[in-house]
């Protein structure tokens, strides 16, 4: 059910010709993925998915659509040959991957399961001993800071050129 929601709205998001509808279908697809995380009992990742993707990135995309697109005009129809070729390429890749997947059997480990509770995640995320993720955490924070400064610089730069 959730899988059908995710896949159908994903397909519609890449094929619909109204860009605003594409954004809304993308929103439903992301909500479906968050539902799958809830289904696998990874509540924290599902919450992060809803907050970052559904709440952040989709709103950002919708705002940029409002800023750059005239309301109501359709995207131009693509060439048939290109569409057929890309559908063929995507389908071939899909078939190849599924073939490999069903010929391969995965072996699970038999260790004691570590539950993905928020306190476990917090301990590991900021742990500095072995298996701790403090260094990647700091690197990602530097990256986010750099991206934010870069966005401001890019968005500001065209003003003096235009005047």
């Amino acid at each position: 059910m959730l899988a059908a929601l995710t896949l159908v709205s994903g397909v519609l998001a890449v094929t619909t010709r109204q860009i605003f509808r594409a954004a809304i279908f993308l929103l439903f697809s992301l909500i479906g993925i968050a539902g799958l995380y809830f289904w696998m009992q990874y509540d924290f990742v599902a919450a992060v998915q809803i907050v970052v993707y559904v709440g952040g990135i989709t709103v950002l995309i919708i705002f940029s659509i409002f800023l750059t697109q005239q309301a109501g005009d359709l995207l131009p129809r693509q060439k048939m040959g290109r569409q057929v070729f890309s559908a063929l390429a995507a389908f071939c890749g899909f078939a190849l991957t599924m073939l490999q997947l069903y010929q391969h059997t995965f072996k699970a480990t038999t260790g004691q399961p570590q539950l993905p509770t928020v306190s476990n995640i917090g301990d590991r995320m900021l742990g500095v001993e072995e298996n701790g993720f403090a260094l990647p955490f700091e690197v990602v924070s530097i990256l986010l800071l750099a991206a934010m400064i870069g966005c401001i610089v890019i968005a500001l730069r065209s003003k003096p050129i235009a005047t």
């Binding site: 993308l26 799958l36 990135i57 390429a89 995507a90 991206a147």
Partner: protein, 104 residues
């Protein structure tokens, strides 16, 4: 409710990945291409979480990978949208066909 298996999740994420690839090939609008990239990144996240849950439940590495991927995807989307809006200001269009020169 039916418990999801590893192969179900892998099927969903593979299908979503190639939907994203198809969208990236066919679309010629920068915002829709960005949306296809988001679909691809989400399928990768789904893969990480599924492998973490079903194959290595005693570690949480896949979960951290997916959290870092989400953070990097947020940064990437923000930078991409800043570039798109800047491009629209100078070209009045966000088709990739119309943005041929690098310098403007």
């Amino acid at each position: 409710m039916m418990e999801p298996g590893l192969y179900h999740i892998l099927f969903i994420s593979t299908a979503l990945f190639f939907i994203g690839v198809f969208g990236f090939f066919t679309r010629r609008n920068l915002i829709t291409m960005l949306m296809s990239v988001e679909l691809v990144l989400n399928s990768v996240n789904l893969n990480f979480i599924a492998f973490n849950k079903y194959l290595w439940p005693h570690k949480l590495d896949g979960l951290f990978f997916s959290i870092f991927v989400i953070a990097i995807a947020a940064a990437e989307a923000a930078v991409a949208i800043a570039i798109i809006i800047n491009l629209y200001r100078s070209h009045q269009s966000i088709d990739v066909e119309n943005a041929e020169e690098m310098k403007f």
